[in-house]
């Protein structure tokens, strides 16, 4: 049977791993992201997500370097997102070692990008990230709140061929109160593709809650950096509470 997944997210700004609190990124956690991935490999993480949250593209080359270096060390799946706005950019990341690409704002602005990516790479390769604020889809790194409800948008991206949804409520991001469980339930019930829950984890309980709300995978960023053997401990806890994860 397919296991539930535990995903570590590396939020990268200007080539460094940073902490995210409601999409504001001030604290640098790791100067060198490769060190973080080395730990996660040893601690049996199921997947790694790397997101470029830089405010502009001036440090983009540093981000390419990060992905390139990470992929050399990462013997688990690596998904990459942030500022991917066309097919060429998506191809570029797959060429330098990503296994999946994550698109967000550009998918919202030109939905055909999803179909184009699916036709070229297959839908299993295309993750659409949905950021939510006040129960509405939010794009442009949290800056623009749209008028569309996340459930409607989730169904649309599925219809256009997306293989997975990466769901984050900005109000919950870094807020340490756990995921927005109602949001997860509503999206999971509306679509047939897997949903990854992200944003707000402080305790291992929150991971269990996310899975019980229907998520196929639970993701977190900040918490994994501050605990030794964090992902191993998280999995042990999840198993104790009846979640089928890979040991």
């Amino acid at each position: 049977m397919l296991k539930k997944r535990l995903i570590a997210v590396l939020i990268i700004a200007d080539g460094q791993v940073v902490q995210s609190v409601q999409f504001k990124h001030t604290n640098v956690i790791h100067w060198n992201p490769v060190i973080a991935v080395d730990f996660f490999n040893k601690w049996a993480i199921d997947e790694i997500v790397v997101l470029d949250v830089s405010r502009d593209l001036s440090s983009r080359n540093k981000f390419y370097d990060v992905v390139f270096e990470l992929s050399e060390k990462c013997f688990c799946p690596l998904s990459v997102g942030g500022w991917i706005d066309d097919l060429d950019e998506a191809s570029r990341f797959l060429d330098i070692g990503a296994d999946k690409i994550i698109i967000n704002t550009s998918a919202f602005r030109k939905i055909d990008l999803i179909t184009d990516c699916v036709e070229k790479f297959g839908s299993q390769c295309v993750v659409v990230s949905i950021d939510v604020k006040y129960d509405l889809v939010c794009i442009d790194r949290g800056r623009e709140v749209t008028k569309i409800h996340p459930v409607i948008w989730a169904k649309m991206v599925q219809d256009y061929g997306a293989g997975e949804i990466f769901l984050n409520d900005i109000e919950y991001d870094g807020n340490r109160k756990g995921y927005n469980l109602d949001l997860i339930k509503n999206v999971v019930n509306a679509v047939d593709i897997p949903v990854i829950a992200m944003g707000g984890v402080l305790t291992w309980w929150h991971l269990v809650d996310g899975i019980n709300a229907g998520a196929a995978a639970v993701a977190a960023a900040n918490i994994f950096h501050y605990t030794e053997h964090s992902t191993k401990k998280a999995k042990k806890f999840m198993i104790e509470y009846g979640i089928d994860v890979r040991k």
């Binding site: 296991k3 013997f75 191809s91 060429d95 070692g97 297959g122 299993q124 897997p194």
Partner: protein, 204 residues
């Protein structure tokens, strides 16, 4: 030297990295001479069937592969899409002709219940149904990373070496003489995956 076939599909680098990690030299290539001079052929795959098989065809690589794998009996390892290429036909976005080396069809996974979501993404435990050099030292029930929406329905079960369950039986690996295919991603399955690649290297 292992030739990793370059046909404009994704994740070639991940596969190259994994072979390098186990100390094997690789070359990512679409060059006929280099493929002919290699000891084994690996066809990775992140991509859509139609676009990728057309790319192999446009690069005139199908003839080279047939010559090397069917003619010279060079070991072949197809990963994910590289395994599905072995089928006669794929129904991923349209209908496409595959290599046809192992009889069967590639069709969308249509699970009976909603809890089995498609794409089939994540770690699943396999059941080894046939003794295979690829699984030497791999314990029954080991987990591997899967990332696909389509299943290789083999015409003859004898060619299936392992399966997993996701609302239906999924062909996890196939084998026929020097031809091996794995639906999961050994290059992304941490220790178990690297062990599979080590076993493949032993054949060379």
């Amino acid at each position: 030297m292992i030739a990793i076939i370059d046909y404009n599909a994704g994740n070639l680098k991940s596969v190259a990295n994994a072979f390098k990690e186990i100390g094997e030299s690789v070359i990512v290539t679409d060059n006929r001479d280099e493929i002919e001079n290699s000891d084994a052929i690996v066809v990775p795959g992140v991509g859509a069937f139609g676009a990728c098989i057309n790319s192999l065809r446009e690069k005139d690589l199908i003839v080279v592969l047939e010559d090397q794998v069917l003619g010279s009996k060079k070991p072949y390892l197809g990963i994910c899409l590289g395994m599905q290429f072995l089928a006669r036909t794929s129904f991923e976005i349209g209908e496409h002709r595959g290599l046809g080396w192992i009889n069967g069809e590639v069709r969308l996974i249509e699970p009976c219940k909603k809890e089995f979501r498609v794409p089939h993404i994540g770690w699943n435990n396999i059941e080894i149904v046939k003794e295979s050099i690829l699984f030497e030292g791999i314990s029954e029930d080991s987990c591997f990373y899967f990332l696909h929406s389509y299943n290789f329905y083999c015409e003859y079960e004898d060619y299936i070496s392992s399966i997993c369950y996701h609302g239906e039986d999924i062909t996890a690996s196939v084998e026929c003489e020097n031809i091996f295919g794995v639906q999961f991603h050994p290059e992304k399955s941490q220790k178990n995956g690297l062990d599979i690649l080590r076993n493949f290297v032993k054949i060379i």
